[in-house]
Symmetry: C2
Subunit: 766 residues, 2 copies
């Protein structure tokens, strides 16, 4: 296959760098003591067999986190961080941690307590039982990273020789890449092998107890996932590989094809023979140890490093022969079983390889001025060549010099990471650039196993997919279930009122004027004593005057002047007094109701208002404006003014139970608080909100109702609908300041994907 040795030119590196990577990270769920967790797989995730992101591997307590493929390592880390967070939020017990290393520090003496994953599929359960008997259960406690790599298809399209068909070309390229990887992967093992310790009582059926207490990587040694030595498959061609594999299964050396444990898997053929028709689609590299110093098991830089390592293999000559592959396997075993302090087995080879990588990195770096330098990354690896203490295994034994401290070392890290995973539970970690509400919908999708992608971050536009059903969602609840026209009906407040009045919903009476003279002349005709004068479109309340009793003509004229200064259309509208409630309607039913109240503190007879604000600001729901469900209460001039109107200042000490308001307006963004009133509001208002949404043809609708008393049934004169919003905030209901939370983000998904079985079991904190 030397025909490919000069297939890629240096300038192809840009396109090759756009190749995609998908990661799988395994981890054991453990208790505080290091015991395997005995709780079941989180029930909130529904049926694990179909979950795209969170599955179990061998053992019931072994989680497998799966990212979709992306070009960017930053995106992959974001996904890992989101999945880790969610996995924690749906955990069945409070006392659980993710073991951060590839090898177990503790194996229960009673091996029967290691439960095989409770999968629905009987064949899969049977297979796992066979593995446990044949290889031993201990080896199944080992976790790692699987690194899936697909060469940018655009490059392959361009490089395909005329003499070859697509499938032959793909298979030839990918089998070259597989061979070269097997030949040189020992370099990765040297640099990133990270399982120098293992539980004392660990043993495998094939190789017994380890012959050493410490090595660079137990996981990649003979004590990791290994078939019997007599299983041999050739890698010099895909045809040979498949032939040998089929022979091994036919002879009973392997129970099924996937029982072949090798560090390279050709993907998208089952059985493998299909690859000869379909072509290899991507490779799965299975030899990466978990990095205990990385919050999510792998550092972003290492994702890039491995990617460039793989791309470099494409530029290198094809090693071609089985002998070369065998040599690579031997090198890798030796490297894995060496002491973490040993130097690399072949200093020249590693130095030359990193040198080749640097050539590519130099070119790439030139065109990514804003990104972390790849050259620096490789140089940091180069430094490890004669400094084994800088390698991952070296760093672990430095941090934890004695095998007997291994358990404590891992648990300490696990506890640190758990704190990170549990930080700001209302966010979806890794997706913080999106609005809170979109993060919430994505988190619900992640839990429900609906695949998603962010199409446009600043636009909060996401794509959701389940099987072949695709839905787009903008800003959490703008979907295919609302019509374009309903948007315009709600956007224009005058139109909204007209349509609601038409169906008998009470709205504040009012008239709009484009002409100041006409508006003035209208004064004698005003029939309501309390009314408001406002510009048609208003921001921040500018130009609004409220009259609670009938004003003089001159006061009225003055108010008109203020309003006309803001807009060319001015409304004279009945002023309805009362409490304003937001009704969140979806698909014809009111899902949640909140009252918004101004920023406030409750006195305790001891603390000053200033201190009470500080205390309230420690509420974990509070944060910077728009970045948290509630906003920090400020001590600014607006608050000072509001206090002084009550003859108070920041040093006043309110009596116990006394509520002190710090703002006149109830916006969440100025410290206001939302209070759930879903059950408290009389059902007649629920019906009015639903009726309003229907009149506007709205599927998602936030109906604002002013009412005298939400516990009393609606009559004609005790309420008015003042607004209907086409993109109602879901955070108000998802994370109310007080009262019951409602998973309205999940409701969005339920309507979009009625075919998905949303779990009704388990729980979810976040």
């Amino acid at each position: 296959m030397e025909q490919f040795d000069s297939l890629f030119k240096i300038e192809d590196i840009f396109a090759l760098w756009l190749s995609t990577v998908g990661l799988e990270r395994e981890t054991m769920r453990i208790t505080e003591d290091g015991d395997l967790a005995t709780t079941p797989h989180p029930k909130a995730l529904g049926n694990r067999s179909f979950h795209p992101y969170i599955q179990t591997d061998f053992a019931e307590s072994q989680l497998e986190f799966i990212t979709p493929p992306y070009e960017s390592s930053e995106t992959l880390i974001n996904w890992l961080s989101g999945i880790h967070q969610v996995a924690y939020q749906v955990m069945e017990s409070d006392n659980e941690y993710f073991w951060p290393l590839s090898t177990p520090a503790y194996v229960p003496e009673d091996r029967d307590s290691i439960k095989v994953a409770q999968l629905d599929n009987e064949v899969e359960r049977g297979y796992r039982t066979h593995l446990a008997a044949y290889y031993g259960k201990d080896v199944q406690l080992i976790s790692g990273i699987h690194y899936n790599f697909q060469i940018n298809p655009e490059v392959l399209k361009r490089k395909q020789p005329e003499s070859m068909d697509r499938v032959s070309f793909m298979n030839a390229i990918y089998s070259k890449l597989g061979r070269n990887y097997l030949r040189y992967r020992w370099i990765l093992t040297y640099l990133m092998g990270a399982s120098p310790y293992i539980a004392d009582n660990y043993a495998t059926e094939l190789y017994g107890k380890p012959h050493k207490r410490m090595m660079r990587s137990f996981r990649q040694s003979r004590y990791g996932y290994q078939n019997k030595a007599d299983v041999y498959v050739r890698y010099d061609s895909l045809e040979h590989f498949i032939e040998d594999l089929e022979q091994a299964v036919a002879s009973g050396q392997l129970s099924v094809e996937k029982e072949l444990y090798r560090d390279v898997r050709f993907r998208r053929g089952n059985p493998y023979r299909e690859l000869l028709q379909k072509g290899v689609s991507y490779l799965e590299f299975r030899n990466i140890d978990l990095n205990p110093f990385a919050t999510y098991g792998i550092e972003q830089g290492d994702i890039d490093f491995i990617k460039l390592f793989i791309i470099t293999l494409l530029y290198l000559p094809d090693v071609e022969t089985n002998e070369a592959v065998d040599k690579g396997n031997t090198y890798n075993f030796q490297t894995a079983e060496a002491d973490p302090t040993d130097l690399p087995i072949d200093m020249d080879e590693i130095r030359q390889f990193l040198g080749k990588m640097k050539t590519l990195a130099t070119t790439l770096d030139r065109n990514r001025p804003q990104k972390a330098s790849l050259i620096n990354l490789i140089e940091s690896k180069e430094a490890m060549i004669d400094r084994p203490d800088l390698t991952l295994a070296g760093r672990i034994i430095e941090a934890c010099p004695s095998p007997s401290d291994f358990l404590a070392f891992g648990i300490d890290l696990a506890k640190d990471y758990r704190e990170l995973y549990q930080d700001k539970p209302y966010l979806l970690h890794g997706f913080e650039q999106l609005e809170l509400s979109t993060q919430d919908v994505l988190k619900e999708a992640l839990i429900a196993g609906i695949e998603f992608d962010v199409v446009d971050t600043t636009g909060n536009l996401i794509r959701l997919e389940h099987d072949d059903h695709v839905e787009f969602v903008k800003s959490a609840n703008m979907t295919s279930h609302d019509t374009l026209i309903s948007y315009y009906l709600m956007e224009d407040k005058v139109v909204t009122k007209k349509l609601l009045a038409d169906v008998g919903v009470r709205v504040p009476a009012g008239v709009s004027f484009k002409n100041p003279d006409e508006a003035k002349a209208y004064f004698p005709q005003i029939e309501y004593s309390a009314f408001v004068i406002k510009p048609k479109d208003t921001n921040f309340g500018l130009g609004i005057t409220i009259f609670t009793e009938r004003p003089s003509q001159s006061a009225y004229d003055e108010a008109l002047k203020l309003a006309f200064a803001e807009d060319d259309t001015v409304l004279v509208e009945e002023f309805v007094q009362g409490t304003e409630l937001r009704f969140y309607v979806q698909d014809g039913s009111t899902r949640a109701v909140v009252e918004r109240q101004p920023a406030q503190v409750v006195g305790d007879g001891k603390h000053s208002i200033s201190e009470l604000i500080d205390i309230e600001n420690t509420n974990p729901l509070r944060g910077e404006r728009h970045l948290a469900p509630l906003t920090y209460i400020e001590k600014g001039s607006a608050e000072r003014l509001q206090l002084s109107e009550q003859n108070l200042d920041f040093d006043s000490i309110p009596a116990e139970g006394e509520i002190v308001y710090l703002r006149r307006n109830s916006n969440i963004s100025t410290g206001g608080v939302s209070i759930d009133r879903t059950d408290a509001a009389h059902s007649s208002y629920h019906r009015i909100a639903e009726h309003s949404a229907e009149a506007l043809g709205a599927n998602f609708c936030g109906v604002d109702i002013i009412l005298t008393d939400y516990s009393q049934e609606a009559r004609f004169d005790n309420y008015a609908v003042i607004e209907a919003n086409f993109n109602p905030m879901i955070t108000l209901h998802r994370h109310p300041g007080r009262g019951q939370a409602h998973r309205v983000g999940r409701d969005v998904l339920k309507q979009l994907f009625p075919e998905v079985a949303f779990s009704t079991e388990g729980h979810f904190i976040g």
Copy 2:
């Protein structure tokens, strides 16, 4: 019923003025010679029996135009003008006019040639045949205005005495109003009677040939619509009225209840007895003659005048008795049969009545500073009290002193009006404040008999209704058939491209940058030789640079600088050369295709470019920007520059057939021209446009495709979709500068109202 005599206070006039009026205007279709038109009712209107706006009355050639009820006389006139225009545009023959007077100037000697309306309903046809036999066909040639009046229901709600139920109150109020109207309507007849002549050979079965050749109003005389004298109904109560009417039918004096010809009809009961349960809903006043000096049969001022006349009747004491009604009838006959030069029959009564009206008008005027003065209107009528020559009948005989000129007088007016009706056929007269495209949809609705209302003029938001099916439409094709999310998918051009590329539609390759350094560094990676650098959102082409061959890095950097000055996101995009075509897709199929070309003239070897522009600007499709399908070509600096680039100026005389472009851009708003390419464009592009719309989930979609040659099948490299628009202009296709027009506005309605049988017959010019 004197209990109501002081029911209304002076301040109630504002609310009473919000009462609604609906108009019906009848007219005979005639030929240039004054003959009755022999063509059928316009087939394009579909089944007339259900048409809300354009029907036939008695004769096949008698049109009846019906407006919906509105508060404002301006709106009513607008509706009349739209209906008149449309009725002309669907006429079956070019040689037809609307006879502008109430009485015919010509009655065919062969009465059989007066065809009864060819209605589907057999009973209705039979009824008309009976009328023709009983009253004679001549009387059926008489036309007029019916004035429907509903008291503002809000006022009635407020005024309803506690002692009365709603139905009794409505019936009491409306029967008082009916009585009073009958008592005083002679005043209207004096002022506005307008049928002083009638055809020589005109005769009725009941009263024979008129005894005079000229009177104030033949239509309201005994020679108009009159029952036999022995038909007598009491008006002193609704119960009496119904009793007498039923008796007249039972005794055979009348064939059916509606054969009772009286100037007041109680509406919304059939049979009338239903009114006793349901309550009168409004009154129909049937005594208004057509005003031949008014383009649409009635002046806007007279709509207001009659309204105030009616409201005044509500303020006046109830005349109560049948004797008073009889007196009113007598007065009215006498007024109608008087000479047009005679003074009013009761000078005091008319003076007092108008005086009372002035009191109300004074109050109203104070609060309508922007509207025409009602006081002036009444004063102009007051002037007629001792100047019969100023009344309508007086003016007619002044303009046409001899009965023998009556036919010519009417035809001259009819011709003038036809010219007005035919002006700017692409508009919907009376609705010119809306966008052209919305006018077109409304016009199609008017033709199809779908009821409509303008909800918001500046927003181009309309409401359509057929039976109980309601649809809202904004800007002609934003409807309930598009989803809110598809709007956002099309709004973001980057997202659009992404989604189209995903489904295999070719879009210009490209990358977007937020960072100038990254954009600069990208230069070596650009793989296409021709490309464009542009701000993500651009207006008027600012910041765009097109490279048709590979530039230097410094030229590239300079172009980036220009683009980043306009937007914080800049696209580097493949530049696809070719012709740009707009594909208008609806509901999965391409309905029309146009090419837009820059403003241009074609030489004739004689005229200068300046003269050719003048000639082109006489094209009736051209007008002011956005107010006509095409825009006047200017002779400004942009045009001068474009000419000078071709070494031409405005005085150059291009050779015959030579096309001279006056602009670089092809926007219609700068004189560009749209050319229909629906059939010319290869069907493969139709499919690509449809596929693109589908990928975006768009029902209405304007897909812009750049292509090398529209007659050649699409391959991967000869086209690119550059944009998809969620609100594609329909005027481009409806009124292309050249080629086939497509009624895409009608297609909108067809999809919204699949249950409506759109006529496939007849034709439509406009």
